[in-house]
């Protein structure tokens, strides 16, 4: 996303945009956190596994199916 396309016309009297440089580090941190969460709910001990066994898979089994991830 380029900041050059921001025109004063778009912003007058409305909310100010947050500078991209201020978002970037939080965006990376937040996305990493989200990916870890989604991985454990959606894919661990299914297509790939960090831990041995099937406990994580079986524990979140219903959530995995109902959230639409391929389960088994």
């Amino acid at each position: 996303m380029s900041t050059t396309s921001l025109t004063p016309k778009l912003n007058s009297g409305s909310v100010q945009a947050i500078p991209l440089g201020a978002i970037a580090p939080w965006a990376i941190f937040g996305l990493l956190l989200a990916i870890v969460g989604i991985y454990f709910v959606g894919a661990e001990q299914g297509a790939t596994a960090l831990f041995k066994g099937m406990y994580v898979h079986e524990f979140v089994h219903d959530a995995r199916h109902l959230l639409g991830f391929p389960c088994h």
């Binding site: 396309s5 894919a43 199916h65």
Partner: protein, 241 residues
């Protein structure tokens, strides 16, 4: 500042996960149970022994489901707050709550509706265990493609809005997303592993419940996050004079 938005997003995401749990338990679980019953009957007919239960059905359908949807809710809440941080003040004259709702609707379409049209949710007993790696890869490819194309179309629509009306630019952006996703759906292979005899009605209700869970999560994120932005605005969310 953006860190505060991220924390807000994740907290609202936990709330979204709680509501999604209630929805999933009421509208989704009966069909999970039905599918497990079907699987048991099929296994019995083939003379296969019942699979040993590592986690009981009672735990899977309550604490397991709750944990899964809350973790998912918090994760999606985090993603939502970052998308919102980018969108705030960049979508024409939309207010903070208006931005929250528009971002939530866009995320629902991008993360849930469109990927699930191509690769719908499947209850237990559907899906060949031998193809789980390929199916997981395809699902995340579809999800990633949808997100990337949505970001691209949003950026294009914003640049078009310099010369055309906001309305026309938005429609053109949505149309481009639809066309590109149509091409992606045609390009990716189709997966159909529904076993013979699986009730079409049960499959329909299960898949609808899955889309409903997505609607509850993103709907809660948009509305609750927007409400908080309106009621307790951070400095970045107040209207410039």
């Amino acid at each position: 500042m953006v860190g505060n938005l991220l924390i807000r997003g994740m907290i609202v995401g936990v709330l979204a996960g709680l509501l999604a749990f209630v929805f999933a338990y009421v509208f989704g679980e009966p069909w999970v149970d039905w599918a497990i019953g079907f699987e048991g009957k099929m296994d019995a007919m083939k003379g296969m022994a019942e699979e040993p239960e590592l986690v009981s059905r009672g735990v899977q359908s309550t604490f397991g489901l709750l944990t899964g949807v809350i973790v998912m809710g918090a994760a999606l809440g985090g993603i939502f707050s970052i998308a919102y941080a980018f969108a705030l003040g960049r979508l024409g004259r939309l207010s903070a709550p208006g931005t929250a709702v528009v971002v939530a609707v866009a995320c629902f379409v991008t993360f849930v509706l469109v990927p699930q049209i191509k690769f719908p949710a499947n209850p237990p007993s559907i899906g060949n265990p031998d193809t789980i790696v390929a199916r997981t890869g395809l699902y995340f490819t579809m999800l990633g493609t949808s997100v990337l194309i949505a970001i691209l179309c949003t950026m294009l629509a914003r640049s078009w809005s310099q010369r055309h009306s906001a309305w026309l630019s938005t429609l053109m952006g949505i149309a481009l997303y639809a066309v590109l996703m149509g091409i992606a759906m045609k390009a990716l292979p189709t997966v159909d592993e529904v076993p013979d005899g699986f009730a079409a009605n049960a499959l329909w209700h299960f898949r609808l419940a899955s889309i409903g869970i997505g609607a509850v999560i993103w709907g809660t994120l948009g509305i609750a996050f927007g409400y908080i932005a309106e009621r307790y605005p951070l400095a970045v969310e107040s209207t410039a004079h």
